[in-house]
């Protein structure tokens, strides 16, 4: 196999192993040796691809966040009407959280703990810009409540993380009909009531 491809494969295996182990044990309870073992690589090899453990987890975060937002905004264009645009993005996000459960779990854990460096966190937030732009447009048009973006995010998007974590714990299962109910709740919480 080509040298470059082999390198890419190893790096991907490391990222994948990091996600899986951190999901199940948390950052600090995940030794580099276990990540290496799961990626079928020597511990020393990790340091050819990443500076250290913190760098490994930071880069994993930014890459997964980037995949996530790429998926979320893939079918959205800036000229869509507010309501359609929001529904589209929201359902893509929900879709991602159902299909790419491991990735989404990892992001949730990163966002709720002091695990990630502040610069990497900021880097991750940047990717959400299209949604913030949509909201700004929606506020101007009087369709979306003139609230802080943090409040909008808290009610429109963040509940999906909670539902995903509950699902992962086996507490309940999030199926298609739940998703539709959740969407209605999300929209009702941010739309201007007429």
């Amino acid at each position: 196999m080509a040298k470059l491809q082999k390198s890419i494969d190893k790096r991907n295996a490391l990222i994948k192993a990091t996600i899986e182990l951190v999901n199940n044990n948390g950052f600090h309870a995940t030794p580099m040796s276990k990540i290496a073992k799961m990626a079928k690589v020597s511990p020393a090899t990790i340091y050819l691809y990443f500076d250290n453990k913190q760098d490994l987890v930071n880069k994993t975060y930014v890459e997964v966040k980037s995949e996530y937002t790429k998926y979320a905004f893939a079918t959205y264009t800036k000229d869509m009407p507010i309501k359609e645009g929001f529904e589209l993005i929201w359902k893509r996000i929900a879709d991602f959280k159902l299909k790419e459960c491991e990735n989404a779990m990892f992001l949730a854990q990163c966002d709720n703990t002091p695990m990630i460096d502040e610069p990497s966190r900021q880097e991750g937030i940047k990717h959400l810009q299209p949604l913030l732009d949509l909201w700004a447009r929606g506020k101007k048009e009087g369709i979306i409540k003139p609230m802080s973006d943090y409040l909008l995010y808290a009610y429109a998007i963040n509940p999906l993380s909670f539902l995903m974590i509950s699902q992962k714990r086996g507490a309940f299962t999030l199926d298609k009909s739940h998703i539709e109910e959740a969407y209605q709740s999300a929209w009702n919480s941010i739309k201007v009531c007429q």
Copy 2:
């Protein structure tokens, strides 16, 4: 000072130190030695009060959760109308998350990571029963959407955790007017639309 009171003080100091250090560094990045130092106690003394580190954090979780729900339901009675009851509980919860920021942060971190034992987690959930009962009543009366409790919780309560974490990170400040907006969003997301 009375012997008993001194013991209680030490135990409280340990719980307090655990909360503060875990909030800022996470569970595994908080050594017992630091907890001991902050509580002005020898590391060995911790083991007179708790079996081990896991036990310390489990017990801290259950105690804080208990304080939290005690506060949340303090002014609520079962015979209140649904809407009033919900608003009352919701605002008490919001109040707690603003005033007892450290405690609330700790709970949020526990609820979003594999930090706590499953039995202790279950123990913590039990305390929420009055809210679940209120929702059951609200569903029967056709006031609250007939959704899974997980969905109701995700939209009505959980967003407050996100807002608190954002506030703690200094991203924005949650003031009285935000709280009112948040309440409206919470209610709009779970009420039956007429």
